[in-house]
Assembly symmetry: C2
DNA sequence: GAGCAACATTAACCTAGGTTTATTGTTTGC
DNA sequence: GCAAACAATAAACCTAGGTTAATGTTGCTC
């Protein structure tokens, strides 16, 4: 009785958030996932379309990308394996996604159907509690980001980004950093020149 | 066997989020709260101090207020009864609060100890699920706010505020609206003049 | 190696919103 | 009724960052 490939990683990740699950018990849930591969540039979910899936990134990294009506790109966030990805809004409220999730790399992930994921969770308090933790962390991150946008200069946000995302700083184009901290690539260029 | 004053309101509020609790069952949890009154201007929790409490606002409304190192006020959000209030970060991570919660009115609320609240939740899936919903909604709101800060002009944020908070627009000073949408009162004044 | 397509930088200019300082309401308390 | 404290507006000025457009730069692919 063994878990499907990479599911072990998922259980471990969730265990790290809340220690009340182990693989043996987990197997009993019958939670199934599709193993998926995405190549650099491909989309896991697409802005404007339903996205009733939760992803567990086994390898690679992605960004959450919103394109405004004027055609401007905004990188809401990055997510690096191992991590959970998906649009909370789209899956829990059953509406279209407000952003796309783009592979920035070759990505290996598990894809869960949210409906099933949610139902299984109902019957396993430890599982639900881990999801709780996840939501708390996500909320707290957005709150920190709110502070950053209101209180910090673009320069400070850039420095904070470099500081908190050392694993990304040399792997992604600068324009993605710019669109993540809410400025144009030109403004970022100016800031970088000044900092030299 | 009856609930303590206003607890019924709390149960109803939580039921509205997720229908799996009713007062009769709820009473069995033994979840206790202190009934508190705050006068306009008083603080429910204080920035820089521990805040291991969850509040249920029975009457009145509050704002979440952060003061930066340079002394600038930022109103993170408003909350009107009936609603749950508190610092998710401070209570779940057991750290000092990054903002104060200020009564903008005479406030009546129930005050729960987070530790107890959390423990009771563990044994009542329906309760935890309601908390889950709450977190999801909080997260989604912050996400919407993130979009607003990055994509909308101050003028647009002001109009959106008026639109989505009709119950507040005439009850709070303009400077609070300004500090909520991330501009100075002077800038808001300019915008209002232009809109006349 | 030529040609093309992203990416990054630079310079010139523009604008939204910050800052400072005053002026005018408007509550609040004595 | 008056002073004190706060809230809102106004004018003058300043600056961070947007916009446009030109110029490099780094790969690709053929």
């Amino acid at each position: 009785m063994s878990l499907q490939p990479h599911m072990e990683d998922f259980v471990q990740y969730f265990s790290g958030i809340n220690l009340s699950i182990d693989s043996a018990n987990f197997d009993k849930f019958g939670l199934k996932a599709k193993l998926k591969h995405y190549q650099k540039g491909e989309l896991l979910i697409t802005q404007g379309q339903p996205a009733p899936k939760v992803f567990f990134l086994v390898k690679g990294f992605v960004r959450y990308l919103n394109v405004s009506v004027e055609g401007k790109e905004f990188t809401q966030s990055f997510s690096c394996a191992p991590s959970i990805s998906g649009s909370t809004r789209a899956m829990t409220r059953n509406v279209d996604a407000l952003f796309s999730i783009e592979a920035l790399d070759d990505v290996i992930c598990l894809e869960f159907d949210w409906q099933m994921f949610f139902e299984k969770m109902q019957f396993q308090p430890g599982f639900m509690q881990a999801y709780n933790r996840l939501l708390e962390n996500m909320f707290i991150k957005k709150e920190e980001r709110e502070y950053a946008f209101v209180q910090d200069s673009a320069e400070q946000r850039y420095l904070t980004f470099l500081d908190t995302n050392p694993q990304l700083r040399d792997k992604i184009p600068l324009k993605m950093i710019a669109s993540h901290i809410g400025i144009t690539p030109i403004a970022l260029s100016r800031i970088r020149k000044k900092l030299q």
